[in-house]
Symmetry: C2
Subunit: 107 residues, 2 copies
DNA sequence: ACTGAATGTAAGTCATGACTTACCGTTAGT
DNA sequence: ACTAACGGTAAGTCATGACTTACATTCAGT
């Protein structure tokens, strides 16, 4: 039931912002917190929650701790979502690929 | 940012149960509530939230109100999830299709 | 018209969890 | 060794939201 955890963890807007800031690659807490509307400790707490949920991983580098995305943590949630399209799934996949190609093109 | 709403709404386990009970087709509140660990009014409230989020739709039939899934309400969330696999998306799609075929086979 | 089934809504309670500030540990540089 | 930067943790506050019970509403059947 790990998709339930992922849902709960990503439901919080601030925590989702923290998560999204990791798209561009590993970042230290300092940088992640900069510009966010909450304090640095709050970001630390969010990162802990994200880490416990398997959505983020941590690597120590000297005094810094670099956090990065764990996309695998999203897999179960994705599969759960998929499960709502029964036999329509194939058609949906085609649609998803189409919109993906469109996005790719006008980049 | 409707995917944020979907995340928040589906984060609650009870509400998710309500949502999942609609997989089998439209159902009245009565039936949905039966067997759930909460009262019927609680289910009504959950259904309202789900409806406001566009995840569920309601059709009146006499004194009954039939609620059913709105899968389109999940689309934005799905696209947001997709966006985490950059160029690896194609590879992932193949993987998703593979596991889907497997599931289909041993049904 | 009355009754009962089905459901929404109001009001109030209570737990959870997202913050804050204060503090502590650890590493790097001088 | 001192100091400053980096970051995790403790403790306490406060708002949100998931429940409950009680009540109001609406339709179907007799």
């Amino acid at each position: 039931m790990a998709y339930g955890t992922a849902l709960a963890v990503l439901a919080d807007p601030t925590r989702r912002q923290v998560f999204e800031r990791l798209r561009g690659g590993p970042r230290p807490v300092n940088i992640i917190a900069h510009g966010l509307p909450v304090s640095r400790p709050a970001v630390s707490q969010h990162l802990k929650v994200l880490k416990d949920a398997g959505l983020v991983e941590e690597r120590s580098e000297g005094v810094r701790r670099l956090y990065s995305l764990r996309r695998e943590g999203l897999m179960e949630l994705r599969e759960w979502l998929d499960s709502f399209w029964g036999d329509a799934l194939d058609a949906f996949k085609l649609e998803a690929e189409r919109s993906y190609r469109l996005k790719k093109r006008d980049k």
